[in-house]
């Protein structure tokens, strides 16, 4: 009985498996850039590739969003069915590279001079063991303030240069009856804001030690406690309904003038653009007070998989097109980020974009370009998520004091290492 059942099973499954050959003139791409502006930006790349005779094929992801895409990617890689490339973030690239499934683009990188044009901090994630495994698409930075200019004029505020200035500005908004700070109470948003607070409170050296090197003494230090206290101060300026709000809704509050300011990465600019607002006249972009000169970044990358030889030509074409100056400029103008290479002319960018490009160049040369811990560029995902937990629990009151917060932070990071 059992043997017959097994025979039947073997028969049935042998029908189910059929060889599937991927088209060699095709770029199979896993990504989650499906919203209007992002999809339009990606179209530029599709057209560039079409000119060279390569077709573009999106790998479908059920549910959308980065998490779903990463789960899909994990399944594809486990099944040995590699896409040509996948949108990836920071440590994910290194994880996959360590698992030995990434391709090698070093030849192309040499020919195109990526070593010189891509900031060294980014190469930490796109180069593994001396081999180029990913093509960075852009650089986002998270230490920005987005301010509604009309509200700013109404309350007579000026650009805050220090954290105390910032608090004074928020007080002014509160007195004028506007929600001072638009925040979405989701752990990554709170932690993203906290990245800036730490940089502002402790300075660049401290940020690097605590948030990138995970130095225990720094994590436990009084400076870290002060950072948590400063975060607690900021949280008193949000509206009572902030918990669980999506980041783009928080941005919409600033756009509509319900709130004065949002602390968010430069992807928020895309929302201002979508609402037809111009920097300088409708909204203002400043660096988070006390962080001018430093850039806390995250970056989207196209991880390149170790595809069979006959599909490599398409992969090289994709990588070359991704890091071409024309695409870098066209894409990032739309996306709100800045190019991943520092030699792209800034002529097409708006005022905020120009400042972003100049800041990135300066930070790259001055050694003040740091990975954002909240965005997964400071430490591996396990640590980054432990960090987000602690920050979020502090914001929502499960962790009651800054003393407790630093103890928990050290413990959580130890656990996650």
């Amino acid at each position: 009985m059992l043997r017959k059942l097994l025979i039947g099973t073997a028969l049935a499954t042998s029908f189910a498996f059929s060889a599937h050959a991927a088209d060699v003139k095709e770029v199979q791409m896993l990504h989650w850039w499906t919203s209007g502006g992002e999809a339009a930006a990606l179209n530029v790349l599709k057209q560039d590739l079409a000119k060279e005779g390569y077709a573009w094929k999106d790998v479908p992801v059920a549910g959308g969003g980065g998490d779903a895409a990463m789960t899909a990617l994990k399944a594809m890689v486990a099944a040995g069915n590699y896409p040509t490339a996948s949108q990836m973030l920071g440590y994910t690239v290194l994880d996959y590279a360590a698992a030995g499934v990434m391709g090698d683009l070093t030849e192309t990188a040499k020919k195109e001079g990526w070593d010189k044009s891509v900031p060294a901090a980014l190469q930490k994630f796109s180069v593994y063991d001396g081999k180029w495994v990913a093509a960075p698409v852009n650089v986002h930075s998270v230490n920005w303030l987005w301010i509604n200019k009309a509200v700013m004029d109404k309350i007579g505020g000026t650009e805050p240069k220090t954290f105390d200035d910032f608090i004074a500005l928020l007080d002014k908004a509160k007195a004028a009856g506007v929600i001072p700070l638009a925040l979405g109470g989701q752990n990554w948003q709170e932690a993203t804001m906290f990245d800036s607070v730490v940089l502002s409170t402790g300075g660049p050296e401290f940020y690097k030690k605590a948030m990138n090197d995970l130095d225990e003494a720094s994590l436990k230090s009084d400076t870290m406690k002060k950072s948590f206290d400063n975060l607690a101060k900021l949280v008193t300026y949000v509206d009572p309904n902030f918990s669980g709000r999506d980041w783009n809704l928080a941005t919409a509050m600033v756009i509509k003038g319900d709130a004065l300011v949002q602390v968010m990465g430069d992807w928020a600019k895309g929302e201002f653009h979508a609402a037809n607002k111009t920097p300088g006249t409708d909204f203002l972009c400043y660096r988070f007070p006390g962080t001018d000169g430093s850039v806390v970044y995250n970056s989207d990358m196209f991880g390149m998989f170790n595809v069979p030889e006959d599909r490599k030509a398409a992969q090289v074409a994709l990588a070359t097109a991704t890091l071409s100056k024309s695409f870098q400029s066209a894409f990032n103008v739309v996306k709100g980020s800045v190019p991943a290479r520092t030699d792209v002319p800034d002529t097409d960018f708006d005022a905020c974009g120009k400042k972003g490009i100049a800041d990135l160049k300066k930070a790259n040369e001055g050694g003040t370009l740091f990975g954002s811990l909240a965005q997964g560029y400071g430490a591996p995902p396990a640590v980054a998520n432990a960090y987000k937990d602690v920050v979020s629990k502090f914001v929502h009151g499960q962790i009651k004091s800054s003393d407790e917060a630093v103890t928990e932070l050290v413990k959580a990071i130890d656990d996650a290492k």
């Binding site: 698992a99 109470g185 669980g244």
Partner: protein, 319 residues
Amino acid sequence: MSTVAETQIKLTPEHDAHPGASVRSRLQDLLPKIVLAPSFAATIVFVYGFILWTIYLSFTNSKTFPSYDITGARAYQRLWRWTFESDPPSSWYTSITNMGIFGFLYILICLALGLFLAILLDQKIRGEGVLRPIYLYPMALSFIVTGVAWKWFLDPGLGLEQTLHQWGWTSFHFDWIKNKDFVIYTVVIAGVWQASGFIMAMFLAGLRGIDGEIMKAAQIDGATTFQLYRRIVIPLLRPVFLSAFIVLAHLAIKSYDLVVALTSGGPGGSAWLPSNFMYEFTFKRNEMAVGSASAVIMLMTITAIIVPYLYSELREKSR
């Protein structure tokens, strides 16, 4: 796969070696098994195979990808330690206490409400045919729809509170969904709304199965309506209680989408259930071993509920 395929090739000549039995009768004999085989194989591999695989992984140090070196019960040790970290609450502590609160209230309220509605509907009222589907309908919705609808309804800035403020009752305050201590109760509310109609239908079927003669006899003996239900109907419904409990218990333990759609995890992760913990750790934090260990603990919890039930059911049948 290849080894099985080889056996299959070797076996084929054997069939030809016995021309005595007609091919047709052999085929007839084999056909049901061939048809059943795919689902049999799928169950063996995708249910039991992966249960074993998950148990195995929970004893490794798997991170982003599965790793196959057994490294001991470190994942369980961590979960055990987190079980007692209540202040500030560890994510695991939050998950299991939420499971306790949610499971207890969800099952209790669903049973009570379902029974109450069923008894009311059983009074031979007019329009039962219309009322029954109305109560039953929420079960036809997915948890995602339920979650999103209740999220809007309970949001202080959008739903109930805002509406009542507009109507003039400005002192009304209901922000449970934004409150770390109460958010789990909003999950209970949405869950009960979804499932109680279904439980009502189960009880209604049970009530309809009770012999009318018994009821009449009790009434002749002078039992009040309350006594009738308390002493006769509810004890007779015991098997329905058991089935409803099992259905609700496994719905409660596997609730995941409701928490995500309704609260996106709640303020500071305060609405997590063990299933959310498992997904977060396995897929977002690349701590596959810890995620697997939590899945095994969930499985053992379900087993602890289901096995006594199956045991008692099977024993009764064999008697």
